[in-house]
């Protein structure tokens, strides 16, 4: 059984897919690469097979992030690494996430918050910071399972449930609530690498989707914080002192 599984949701990404899969195989010797090809009509499936990935095909689009949950369910590795098919990140920049999980981290996040040294930030950036503050982890700033790359331990996957990955902020809240070791590892500037938003002009609806996801996470938290009778890993105390737990 492979030690590392790399999950790549794919929807019409023939331009970058070959390189993305190549880098995924380079992350770890004997890595398992799972391409979840959905709603693709551009031959992405053929490319993925040719490159040696395990391919799961859905003729219709699954929607944002759902491919990750499906890939995670199929994955057999001890460590799961998640990347997107539309941006090529070199293997050497992906390895730190895998290494962190190997060294005991359950959820290894990209230390990327988006542009924040301004007065008015993007809605998604705001949502991520607010959720972390609410979960008692302001130290995570804008790091979140919403952004790739990130890696999960098998333990994390079993604790939060693979299906919850289809709403990443929800999975994020579950991981922190469960007391898993959630850390930001290093910075991969996906904002600069990701041309998708401008290219396909879906920035606004994507912003709304992700903000809504965060609201779902908050709603989940209102129910579970109440049941647990606590506010996360020292959450309330850290809020009051304004510091970092």
């Amino acid at each position: 059984m492979a030690d590392v599984s790399v999950v790549i949701p794919v929807m019409n990404e023939k331009r970058t897919l070959r390189k993305v899969i190549r880098e995924a195989f380079r992350v770890d010797r004997g890595a398992e690469v799972i391409a979840v090809v959905n709603g693709s009509t551009d031959g992405s499936e053929r490319i993925a097979r040719a490159c040696g990935a395990r391919v799961i095909v859905f003729p219709r689009p699954l929607g944002h992030d759902v491919g990750r949950a499906i890939g995670a369910k199929a994955a057999g590795g001890r460590i799961l690494l998640f990347v997107d098919a539309d941006m090529v990140i070199p293997a050497r920049r992906l390895r730190p996430f895998v290494d962190a999980v190997r060294n005991g981290v359950d959820v290894a996040l990209n230390d990327y918050s988006g542009p924040v040294r301004i007065m008015r930030v993007h809605g998604v950036v705001l949502a991520k910071h607010a959720l972390n503050a609410l979960l008692g982890r302001p130290d995570l700033e804008g790091a979140s399972l919403t952004a790739v790359p990130h890696a999960l331990s098998r333990r994390a996957l079993e604790t939060i449930g693979a299906e919850s990955l289809s709403v990443p902020p929800l999975a994020h809240a579950r991981a922190i609530c469960a007391g898993l070791v959630v850390e930001k590892i290093c910075r991969v500037n996906v904002g600069a690498l990701n041309p998708r938003r401008s290219r396909k002009g879906r920035g606004r609806s994507l912003e709304h989707l992700i903000v809504g996801d965060h609201l779902e996470a908050i709603e989940w938290w209102t129910r579970h914080a109440e049941h647990a009778g606590s506010y996360g890993a020292g959450g309330l105390q850290s809020m009051e002192s304004g510091g970092v737990p």
Binding site: H208, L209, E240
Partner: protein, 436 residues
């Protein structure tokens, strides 16, 4: 009495200098720009009359009419949005030199801002009218105190300048408030008393709620500013740890003292105080951080002209995003998720603010004990939330996250989990994740 400004159009009267000081101050000092024949300066060296521009009497259209009137004629749906936009922009328009006069500032590209004012003679006339009213009142009340004179002035201003009053003409708001000030100044001179006063025409009644702290000097200053405003009374909430503040409060005739018992935080004190009010407008101020009466007047005015909640429009003290405390990020996201990105971090969690009776009745005075939740309730229930004055204010304690959870729970109960941010594209069933 004021005839609706017609006589001010006689030649030469309708001009005011283009200057940061505005025509108001000029009227006070009595220095009026002369015509060409009376020109001073060395002969042969003609000074350009370019700094002179027509006054509002001579020029149409105005930027804005009287606030109350124009607002009410708009369709209801657009009302709060437009108001909010106008209010948001206002702090930027303000110039240090015109703080007192509140003249209307218009920006033009590549030029200095143009301040439109009424003609000097019009202001002189308002002062004379004020003076005559003040003298007449004093003759009728020879034994009256200075306090009574001030109360009489507020009544008088209400009469003369409230919408429909004899002094209410279609002037830009800045000119109106300058006129009111001049009128008030004249009135007080007429009565022979000199007490600082902040005239603000109100249709409704107003009161204030103050939470006292340990700093008595600050409380004295806070109450001193409230004295200038047309408030019927103010509730001074005194917690056990600040019992000495009682003496300070008792020195002011309009104070109503409410002991708060054990300390439960300023918000709880405000809830307690709010429950004791019955006026149309309630202004909530900090007992330890004095704010100038002129700014507080703007909160009263905002609510009086149709807003349900006028928040502190402060821009200072708000850092760039990465330097903001977690509590401010939560407030900003709360506003964002409730469709009011324009409010930024501004909320009921910051003082001062003013509420309409409608707002207090809708959310209940007790709910003010949890500011973030109360704020969300106002927004979710469609009350008109906008900006009032701009006061520098610093938070004393961070909000707790529990309260924010309550705020979102409240909103989600009414509008659904994702509020106005639906997920219409995901095939969650394929992954085995239930729908939201």
């Amino acid at each position: 009495m004021i005839r609706n400004g017609h006589h001010a159009r006689r030649p030469g009267a309708g001009f005011a200098p283009r200057t940061r000081m505005g025509g108001v101050r000029r009227a006070e000092t009595g220095s009026i720009r002369r015509g060409p024949s009376g020109r001073r300066g060395p002969p042969g060296k003609r000074r350009r009359p370019a700094r002179i521009r027509p006054s509002v009497q001579g020029r149409q259209p105005f930027r804005r009419g009287l606030p109350g009137r124009s607002a009410r004629s708009r369709p209801g749906v657009l009302r709060h949005r437009r108001r909010a936009t106008a209010a948001i922009r206002r702090p930027v328009e303000r110039r240090p030199g015109v703080r007192g006069e509140r003249a209307t500032v218009r920006h033009s590209i590549g030029r200095r801002p143009v301040i439109r004012t009424a003609g000097a003679s019009a202001f002189r006339r308002w002062r004379d009218i004020g003076f005559r009213s003040g003298s007449a009142w004093r003759e009728a009340h020879p034994a009256a105190s200075a306090e009574e004179a001030r109360a009489a002035l507020h009544d008088n201003v209400n009469h003369a300048f409230a919408p429909g009053g004899e002094g209410a003409t279609e002037k830009p708001a800045g000119v109106m408030s300058a006129a009111i000030r001049i009128y008030a100044d004249g009135f007080m001179r007429g009565t022979g008393f000199s007490l600082p006063v902040e005239p603000v025409p109100l249709k409704g009644t107003a009161s204030a709620v103050v939470c006292a702290g340990r700093n008595e000097a600050a409380l004295e200053e806070v109450l001193g500013q409230l004295e200038r405003l047309p408030l019927r009374e103010w509730i001074v909430v005194i917690p056990d740890h600040a019992l000495t503040a009682r003496e300070v409060a008792e020195r002011h005739a309009r104070s109503v003292i409410v002991p708060a018992g054990g300390w439960t935080g300023g918000a709880a004190g405000r809830a307690l105080g709010a429950a004791r009010t019955d006026t149309d407008i309630v202004l909530f101020v900090d007992g330890e951080q004095p704010a100038p009466a002129g700014e507080l007047a703007r909160f009263l005015r905002a609510v009086d002209t149709g807003m349900d909640a006028a928040l502190n429009a402060r821009t200072s003290g708000i850092a760039k995003f990465h330097l903001r405390p977690p509590a401010e990020r939560l407030l900003e996201f709360l506003n964002f998720s409730l469709g009011r990105r324009d409010l930024g971090v501004r909320s009921l969690a910051a003082l001062p603010f003013a509420l309409s009776r409608r707002a207090i009745d809708a959310i209940g005075a007790h709910s003010l004990a949890q500011p973030a939740k109360a704020h969300a309730m106002l927004l979710v229930r469609g009350l008109r939330v906008g900006l009032g004055g701009s006061v520098t204010w610093r938070a004393k304690s961070d909000l707790d996250s529990r309260e924010h959870l309550e705020a979102w729970r409240e909103a989600m109960t009414l509008r659904g989990v994702r509020l106005t941010f639906p997920d219409g594209r995901r095939n969650r069933a394929a992954a085995g994740e239930p729908a939201p």
